[in-house]
Amino acid sequence: MRDRLDELGPDTEVVLVTFTTDDRAERYADAHRLPFPVLVDESRSVYRAYGLGRGSMARVWGVRAARRYVEILRRDGLAGLRRPTEDTLQLGGDFVVAPDGTIAYGFWGAGPDDRPTVDELIDAVGRTRS
């Protein structure tokens, strides 16, 4: 998304909402050079308002996650593993809010890697202008 912001067209904004602490969010935003606002929702009240709950252990810590950890172990050994400090079951999502304040598009992630493609989001943004 960061690399394709210009494809969203004029009069479009992007914000990222996270439930991590300010410090961690700032480090993340700096590391990834995010060019859009990062909003902090530690209480997750906005996550709940948008219907974003917690996933099941089986879904979040499933085969794909296990494969990823095996890859890390092979590459970096135990030193590569970091203990999660946040709620790893919290699910993410993506929304497009039209200029009239209504939801034009909503995607509720069902697992860690379940996100819409950037093309889907760009299409959804385009439809708010048609």
Partner: protein, 45 residues
Amino acid sequence: MAEHGRPAVGMPAPEIVLPDLHGRTWELGDHLGRTVVVVFHRHIH
């Protein structure tokens, strides 16, 4: 509201009033007239 407490497409978006990393308050309602993409992140490793 649609199923599972999800806001339905076509309905007003729930308000967002949250601090940004510069200590300013960001409100969705201030951005009417523009399209806003809201990305909810999962946890940060």
